[in-house]
Symmetry: C2
Subunit: 414 residues, 2 copies
Amino acid sequence: MNATILTVGTELLFGQIVNTNAAYLSSRLQLLGIDVLYHVTVGDNPHRLAAVLKRLLSETDLIVTTGGLGPTQDDLTKEIIAEVIGVGLEPDESVLSSIEGFFRKSGHEMTANNRKQALIPAGATVFRNEVGTAPGFAAERDGKTVIALPGPPREMKHLFEKEVSPYLQRRTNNVIRHRILRFYGIGESALESKLIPLIDGQTDPTVATYAKEGECSLRIASKRKTEEEALAAIDAMESRIKALVGEFLYSDEDKDLPIVAAEKLMARNLTLASAESCTGGLFADRLISVPGISKSFDRGYITYANGAKTQMLGVPEDVLASFGAVSEETAVAMAEGARKRAGTDVAISVTGVAGPDGGSDGKPVGLAWICVCDARGSRTKRIVTRDRGRNRNRYIFVLEMMNQLNRFLDREMM
Amino acid sequence: MNATILTVGTELLFGQIVNTNAAYLSSRLQLLGIDVLYHVTVGDNPHRLAAVLKRLLSETDLIVTTGGLGPTQDDLTKEIIAEVIGVGLEPDESVLSSIEGFFRKSGHEMTANNRKQALIPAGATVFRNEVGTAPGFAAERDGKTVIALPGPPREMKHLFEKEVSPYLQRRTNNVIRHRILRFYGIGESALESKLIPLIDGQTDPTVATYAKEGECSLRIASKRKTEEEALAAIDAMESRIKALVGEFLYSDEDKDLPIVAAEKLMARNLTLASAESCTGGLFADRLISVPGISKSFDRGYITYANGAKTQMLGVPEDVLASFGAVSEETAVAMAEGARKRAGTDVAISVTGVAGPDGGSDGKPVGLAWICVCDARGSRTKRIVTRDRGRNRNRYIFVLEMMNQLNRFLDREMM
């Protein structure tokens, strides 16, 4: 089966919003084994929309539209689909009562326009929208299918996961499951080449790698007759992958590094203090983004100036003078100072050269020293990024801090 | 003139990357007075690419392509364009020497494939690429124009601003200039309704508003015969806008709030310390993202736990006991403690309830107190966000901190 994603909305053609729906739907359809041949965007113009839809019906098996299902005059996607496939619009009673329920709950007044949203092309399969008012639907003609979804990404994704994905799987008589593994410390191409025996010639499960800033991930997907078979195939593949590159794996639940670190701290009732120089609070910010972290995160020191390192953390002036602010010795003194002053179980520090200025021969822009310590000892790490700008350097330093913290806690747990 | 944006790349159809190029080019073409009718994405498939290009040449005046100009086998955009408009490919000597220069500078080895990048459709206008190897070009047939640009956004934008925009302006005999004003403290719809007399019925300059998370911006654009006329028209419009909503304007150079705050501090040689609770370092992080800020930013205190507020900043225990951690009194004690301990000219503090837990009747999730102080006094601000989640609350708190800091510094400058 092949498909086109047709996004509708003048705001896309004005460049006011970026079309994230097309990327999301593409990756989801690919997982279902459906080839996406085109993305097309048209404005809220009935003639062009009708012409494009007619042509696409002759070119691809499946057309997934987003946008233009709202209550206003501009919203014409439903009307045009009905016209092109040659059916009328009919009110769907269950959608109407669900729209009424939505307005009761939200406390807003329901207008006559909103009733328009309960109209559905005759014979279409309705996808009820529990997180908004516009329902989605699937309409068919001559073996071709048009699926219409609302434009707001949250509603579109909710409907796709809950309704459209099962609808498409029923039509193919298959169950598709997938799992995302996250890796740190190995590049995408290195990961791919280590896994070549598992990727090449593999039809099910399939394994695909994706690069992300400073890390990478891998998707295992399996299409089988039952959920049990699909999950068993994924489990078996995950074991084979772990045997090859398990040392770099940090999550098999698609969790970010800060979430993994926060959960390890919280699960073990450990308290943490941070001492940051060049990252300037970004480490603490990312950790504190995890709800419930107040149980573990006690405080952070942002010791940007040298005087701050001495006064706030007790870094000896002669350490700064002998080794410099960006050195292993200063990183250790920062972490130990933070742990002692805060009275926490664990502390982590970073000191580096974020750039664009401040680099030197021995200490280039992109160099940082990281230290994690507890009462029993410390672990230090030197990192040099490929310098691609101040804020990317700072971002990479923080990823490495999260990684060092995770590895330190893993060691402690043994 | 109307246009289609044609993005080429299988990675887009797999959903591996989001198509930001289409949004960027749309907003830029709209500024030039060119109507964008369609976005189309095709994969690296020569037959489909040729068919789409032929059809689009019959439907729109201008086609702007991105992607498929690289050195590999997959990169076919240039070859297909030449085929469709019926010309051959010819090497461009100046492009060849610029590619050779790029490889010399980067230290990488130049392969035979890279020579392919110097081939250009016969008769095309070449756009030399100073930030990458693939040049862009404009080719014409029967009054229609095809502009081809490389896919990486940085290269594409550089070529568009430097070469394509002037090329298109020359063809329309107009000069287009625009200016972006940034506002904080007023919503998009309130901004729009205050400016209705300036927006409605205005043909040049045009004024358009855009919403951004927690703030909004406005674009003034003018299309005239000369740059002087366009800039004079924009200046006059900016004065009229300032007369109506000047109190909310914080930048007429499209600068972010943290950049404006950092520049004010640096220009006046003021030093700053921060004391953050719920925002957990995000304020310091955003300020430190500005290069050169080490001159002004001395240190930050992330006092997440109550004990940290007392030990690190000297917030009296009875203030915490009587008024609570989230209170005006605690915010003032935090800022004053930070300023005294750090010895800086200015200090800023925040204490609030980010959520999802921790809210109460008098202190709901989304409430924060902010304080800015110097030796002469302090300014406090209470803010309650529309609670849309922990990290959005934290983001909005930091925007308000930047706004309070800017207003405090403005007052000091009078």
